[in-house]
């Protein structure tokens, strides 16, 4: 996958900031779910659950070869098929082969970021197969030919009247009122017979369980159950890391997932799928295919600095607290994976050079680490990515991102290490800035290469009296043993 054509971080972020509807929704989302999750973690009775879950996630990753082959064995035992896809193309081609073999004309999908990652929809449509999203948010995004902007609430950047207008245009319906309860009903009546009659259902996979050979899927709408119950064929796509070894591990992760995502003890539906319809079974798919996808993940697995990001259970909690995501929204991340976790995972999957802006845009405040149900240290990995961009890295093929910036920092390092030189530079800087600043303390426009720096923020002026001198004046020789005198 390449950068979403013709779009860039800076422009999409600006658009996000200017979208009033998005700003309102993000504020509400973060106030409810972000704060709510933090309160829940602080008050949960089993306070060790998150640490235990993190440990088992890491142990599972460290033995992923065994866990995946056990999973495959058990899925096959239940009559399912497992395909291991090295690349996105492999996965797409496999799905097309399954569709062709079963004479599939209509595919119903439930929200799957992996399917967006591998570009499955376009390939299916290219084979003259009708593809319909069934999750309400994803359905709206599909109708609008837009991009999802949140992991579990894909259309939070649209309001009721925009969605109402879209339905009236695309579905040729006359809505009595563009009132939220009318809109899901409108989708339901349009989609219901499609879901009942579709030939193939495609889903993602929240957490597979190796021991039982079952994949589990969570949903509130019930669309995932429709997609996995009514069509003849069920294809589930999973990134190679989305697996737990045992039922016990599964339980902990499931509860953390639904709490982290939406503060639910359990989502409305948790379905355990896998295997084909058995003799006498009244419904369920006649064929089940599990597609396990690598597409760059084994490289992440092999790098100790980044392996931890594969412990992610895609609950989206970090989006609900991140101050950067909370302003710019999901489109700026230029990938199906947005928010802080997207800022780490997208560069690693799709190219650090191309996605350089993402890790630089994050604030490193640490909120994503605090809220993560499995305590993934995203800030550390954001720094790691920045390091690779600053100094270049052969394994990840990063080039030094900004040589000018590197030079400035080098000079900074030399001058700050030499005390008198640094003070002299500050003094010179102070006098040189005077014509620019005059009596102002903040400047919005700077000349030359510094112009871009001021595009998004103001430049504070250098103080006439540097901090070191003020410190000396105030505390003078009165340093105590601990360094600072009281008061």
């Amino acid at each position: 996958m390449t950068l979403q054509a013709g779009r860039n971080y800076r422009e999409e972020a600006s658009k996000g900031l200017d979208n009033d509807c998005l700003q309102k929704s993000l504020k509400k989302l973060q106030n409810n779910f972000g704060k709510g999750a933090m309160e829940y973690w602080a008050s949960m009775t089993d306070s060790g659950l998150r640490d235990r879950a993190k440990n088992t996630r890491m142990e599972t990753l460290a033995n992923l070869d065994v866990v995946l082959s056990t999973l495959a064995e058990n899925v096959e035992k239940a009559g399912g098929h497992v395909y291991f896809a090295k690349t996105a193309e492999d996965a797409v081609n496999y799905c097309l082969r399954v569709a062709a073999k079963n004479d599939v004309e209509t595919v119903v999908k439930s929200k799957s970021m992996t399917s967006a990652e591998i570009g499955l929809d376009a390939a299916l449509k290219g084979s003259d197969i009708e593809v319909l999203e069934t999750d309400l948010g994803e359905y709206i995004i599909q109708l609008a030919e837009d991009q999802a902007s949140h992991t579990i609430a894909p259309c939070i950047h649209l309001n009721r009247s925009q969605i109402g207008r879209l339905f009236e245009e695309k579905l040729a319906v006359a809505l009595h009122r563009r009132y939220p309860p009318n809109l899901p009903d409108c989708q339901k009546s349009t989609l219901r017979h499609k879901m009942l009659d579709a030939d193939m259902g495609i889903t993602g996979c929240n957490i597979a369980c190796a021991e039982t050979g079952r994949i589990s899927l969570v949903s509130n709408e019930g669309n995932i159950r429709m997609v996995t119950t009514m069509p003849r064929v069920h294809v589930a796509l999973m990134g190679l890391e989305r697996v737990a070894a045992t039922m016990e591990d599964h339980q902990g992760l499931l509860q953390l997932l639904t709490q982290g995502a939406a503060l639910q003890k359990l989502s409305t539906y948790v379905s355990f799928a896998g295997g084909k319809r058995l003799a006498g079974d009244p419904d369920g798919p006649e064929e089940f295919h599990l597609v396990v996808i690598d597409n760059g993940r084994s490289k992440i697995l092999g790098d100790n600095a980044f392996r931890e990001v594969l412990a992610c259970i895609r609950c989206g909690a970090c989006l609900n607290i991140c101050p950067v995501y909370g302003r710019i929204g999901g489109h700026a991340y230029l990938s199906p994976y947005s928010g802080p976790v997207g800022a780490v995972v997208s560069p690693l999957l799709f190219g650090i050079n191309q996605y350089a802006d993402l890790c630089k845009g994050e604030s490193l405040c640490g909120a994503c680490l605090d809220i993560c149900p499995v305590k993934i240290d995203l800030p550390r990995m954001l720094l790691e990515l920045r390091y690779k961009l600053a100094y270049g890295d052969r394994k990840w093929q990063t080039r030094k991102h900004d040589r000018g910036e590197a030079l400035v920092f080098k000079l900074w390092r030399i001058s700050i290490a030499a005390g008198p030189l640094y003070r002299l530079a500050l003094r010179c800087g102070y006098w040189m800035q005077r014509p620019l600043f005059g009596r102002k303390s903040l400047l919005s426009i700077l000349p030359g290469p510094a112009k871009r720096w001021c595009a998004d923020r103001d430049m504070p002026s250098l103080a006439g009296e540097p901090f070191s001198r003020r410190w000396k004046k105030r505390h003078g020789k009165g340093r105590t043993q601990h360094g600072v005198k009281d008061g």
């Binding site: 159950r225 539906y269 355990f272 079974d281 419904d283």
Partner: protein, 255 residues
């Protein structure tokens, strides 16, 4: 080597193991160690009736938060009366005929709903394994009646195990889902369900249902009945129920 072997070899290489030699579960035995369920199973087995009634209270409280209607009743006859009330109150969402489909279950059969609805415009279907038209009947029905395996107090969850005679679609396609359960099958928390499932792994499908289908995609406005049922009623039979408690219900749909 096929694509699976190559794929797993890449993973082994990433993890620092030899790419050629496949490893087995014995090499990470602690990861696959089975949970010790003895204590949990014993707790379930020896739970007293009073404790179970306390669980029902918790179930009712948690159910109310997610708009799951819980109706305790004293007998199967009372359960049938409640079900008839619910069915008569609900209006078909698609089409105009009133049809109900129920799982092929001995307890549900004892309700003899066909008798209750004789002379009324409600048709009762049973999802017999031999019936090739179960799918069509489910789609035509506006009420689905099931007999779930367990209910969980902690999260107000109904656990359905699918098998011949118990289609998954009964609790999904109709607009109203009614589940009938005996108090003895109410468990305290999810870990008890997992322990029971480990004892006897379900061969067919397994499903957790916590309340009616819902969506909050549009301006975070909660709407029930997105793709699944818009109402879910759980009727709990408890022969030792005191009359006053039976009538109270959880308030949401009780008369």
């Amino acid at each position: 080597m096929d694509e699976k072997d190559l794929f797993l070899a890449d993973i082994r290489k990433s993890l620092g193991y030899s790419a050629q030699d496949a490893r087995t579960t014995q090499e990470c035995a602690s990861l696959f160690a089975s949970a010790d369920d003895a204590a949990v199973l014993e707790r379930i087995q020896y739970r007293t009736h009073v404790e179970k009634q306390a669980l029902l209270k918790i179930l009712q409280e948690n159910a109310e938060k997610i708009n799951l209607d819980v109706q305790p009743v004293k007998s199967l006859a009372d359960a049938a009366t409640r079900i008839v009330e619910i069915v008569e109150k609900a209006e078909p969402e698609f089409g105009h005929t009133k049809q109900l489909i129920q799982h092929d279950d001995t307890v549900l059969a004892k309700l003899q709903l066909w008798k209750r609805f004789s002379g009324k415009a409600v048709q009762v279907h049973t999802a017999y394994a031999v019936d090739s038209q179960v799918r069509e009947k489910s789609i035509a029905s506006y009420v689905g009646l099931t007999a779930p395996r367990w209910a969980v107090a902690e999260s107000a969850t109904i656990v359905e195990l699918g098998e011949p005679g118990r289609p998954r679609s009964t609790s999904l396609v109709p607009s109203v889902h009614i589940a009938l359960i005996h108090l003895k099958d109410v468990l305290a928390e999810l870990s008890e369900v997992y322990a029971m499932l480990r004892q006897q792994p379900p061969e067919h499908s397994c499903l957790f249902i916590s309340g009616p289908s819902k969506t909050a995609e549009i301006e975070a406005h909660m709407v029930h009945g997105a793709h699944g049922p818009r109402q879910v009623h759980l009727v709990v039979v408890d022969e030792q129920l005191k009359e006053a408690e039976g009538l109270r219900g959880s308030g949401l749909f009780s008369s």
